[in-house]
Amino acid sequence: MIHFERVSLVYENGVCPLHGIDLRIEPAEFVFIIGSTGSGKSTLLKLIYRELIPSAGRVYVGGQDLSRIRRSRLPALRRQVGVVFQDFRLLPLKTVWENIAFVLQATGWSGREIRQRIPEALDLVGMNHRATSYPTELSGGEQQRVCIARAIVNRPPILLADEPTGNLDPATSAGIMQTLARVNESGTTLVVATHDQTTVDDMRRRVVALESAQIVRDEWAGAYHAPQYA
């Protein structure tokens, strides 16, 4: 489903957040990308939804080489990849309902389908009761849930979450992770970038650890720290 082939990325200022990354993620997998701040987790996600293009190597999503994809095909690719942003990126002048409807309207869904899908998505994240609220009226955890609802409402086969539990209390974090796990159970490939040790240790899923721009560990049902340090 997602395949990184000797991927390196170097910014114009010489900073190299990723180097020589080889990674394969299969459909319906649940993968944690872990590492300290600045280790390249978010960059790796950005390469998957093509907010960045690699300096060298290839990134394949659903068999498509993202370096060679035509610009006109980009919207179609992005509809296949839902993204939960670390900073939520909700539109402040739109209500929760409008924020989610916006995605469907912007991608050409009919009014009937929109009215049917939004309550389902809001129900999954437990936010049906806040549909008419504005993002500024919501707590961080609630905004994160809305962000998840927005990312999954058009049922993309891939869901990326960048620090979904960052700045949230442990109880809320656990709730968010349970929601993401439910989404994964429905067959969605889930890639979560995090440095939340508790979350990773509790979930026991595949762990890909990044350090100094490289993958230093790829472990099935892994914990945050490598076994010798646990």
Binding site: S8, L9, V10, Y11, E12, N13, G14, C16, H19, G20, Y49, R50, E51, L52, I53, P54, S55, A56, R71, L74, P75, A76, L77, R78, R79, V83, R89, L91, L93, F102, V103, Q105, A106, T107, G108, W109, S110, G111, I114, R150, S212, Q214
Partner: protein
């Protein structure tokens, strides 16, 4: 296009105007003021052109017929002249009898006896639509067999034609320049509103909206704001132009053939509103392009060649070796530290047994 798509575009455009009321007002005001000002300048030029054309119509082509032309032939010639392209209205006939009567009234009676009969010919006085056509019309008439000669104001027509051409050119240039200025101002105002909403555009891109879909509400918004601004400019002209005419009429002792503020201006109002709408839509289209560049272009990423990768690999290997060396040194230092600690402990044990003061290794 699906109905839901259209509905989305209209709703988004309306919501954008509502939510960014202040910027929308700024945009409408910019269009209204610049187009209003432009309209007055253009009206000034159009009036000047009107005036010149009116003066040019005073230029008359005099056609003298041969003296043996019968009244029947004269009638036919008059009809043929009236049908020539660019001839305005019917040619005015000054018959030889009428001409003689007018002429004889101006000469002394002593001279009248000297003239044998009526030597004057029949004459047609012809008005041409524009000065540039005077020569063409005169040449066509000269070719008629019944015509003796043609007296046309060639030089005056040439001058009037040049002045008219210049005025027309100036009107077009000034109109285009003012439209450009309006477009530039509108573009900048719209760019400001777009800058405030760049995150919205980014989110739309990231959720998979096509560029056309993102662009459409903004263009519709620009079109609507431009049209409203254009309508406001029409209001300014409708209120200000009659007042200006009143001032001109009061200042001059004679009447000038100026453009009427009534029905004559209706098509001009339509042009102003259409220009506003077009400029607004165009301004939006150009402005939104900047914000629709692919997301990855916002971040400068180096393209690496194989030799760059080798260099990176070498650098990484060097850093790894350095890391291992530092780690080994740290380990060696730690074991040395442990050894010193052990020796200090032993020394203190000996000192306790002999009653000497203990050695402190904390500062070591």
């Amino acid at each position: 296009m699906r109905l839901s798509t259209l509905d989305f575009i209209f709703r988004e455009a309306a919501a954008n105007v509502r939510r960014n009321a202040l910027m929308s007002l700024a945009c409408v005001t910019t269009v209204a003021v610049t187009l209003g000002f432009s309209a007055f300048v253009v009206l000034g030029f159009r009036n000047a052109e009107n005036l010149l054309r009116h003066l040019a119509q005073e230029l008359v082509v005099a056609t003298y017929l041969k003296t043996d032309v019968t009244p029947q032939q004269r009638k036919v010639v008059g009809r043929r002249i009236a049908h020539i392209r660019h001839v305005q209205g019917r040619p005015i006939l000054v018959s030889k009898e009428h001409a003689w009567r007018s002429f004889s009234a101006t000469i002394p009676d002593s001279l009248k006896g000297e003239v044998d009969g009526n030597p004057l010919p029949d004459t047609f006085m012809i008005t041409v639509d524009t000065p540039s056509h005077v020569a063409i019309v005169a040449r066509r008439i000269e070719r008629m067999p019944e015509v003796d000669r043609v007296n046309a104001p060639y030089l005056e027509a040439q001058r009037a034609s040049a002045i008219l051409r210049f005025t027309r050119l100036a009107t077009t240039a000034v109109t285009l320049l003012l439209i450009l200025v309006t477009a530039f101002l509108v573009m900048n105002t719209i760019r400001l509103t777009l800058y405030a909403r760049r995150h919205e555009i980014r989110v739309m891109q990231l959720v998979g909206a096509t560029n056309g879909y993102i662009r459409a509400p903004f263009i519709l918004e620009g079109l609507a704001l431009g049209a409203i601004g254009g309508a406001a400019a029409c209001g300014i002209v409708a209120a200000g132009y009659p007042y200006l005419l009143h001032l001109v009429h009061r200042a001059l002792a004679f009447d000038l053939p100026l453009i009427n503020p009534g029905r004559q201006l209706l098509p001009f109002y339509g042009q102003i509103a259409a220009t506003g709408a077009a400029v607004g839509a165009l301004g939006s289209l150009v402005s939104v392009r900047k914000f629709l560049r692919p997301v990855e272009y916002h971040v400068a990423v180096q393209r690496l060649r194989p030799q760059d990768l080798e260099r990176l690999d070498a650098e990484r290997d060097r850093l790894e070796r350095e890391r291992i060396r530092v780690a080994a040194e740290r380990t060696a230092l730690r074991s040395l530290d442990a050894e010193i600690n052990g020796m200090t402990k032993d020394l203190n044990g000996v000192k306790t047994a002999t009653g000497e003061p203990k050695h402190d290794n904390a500062g070591a």
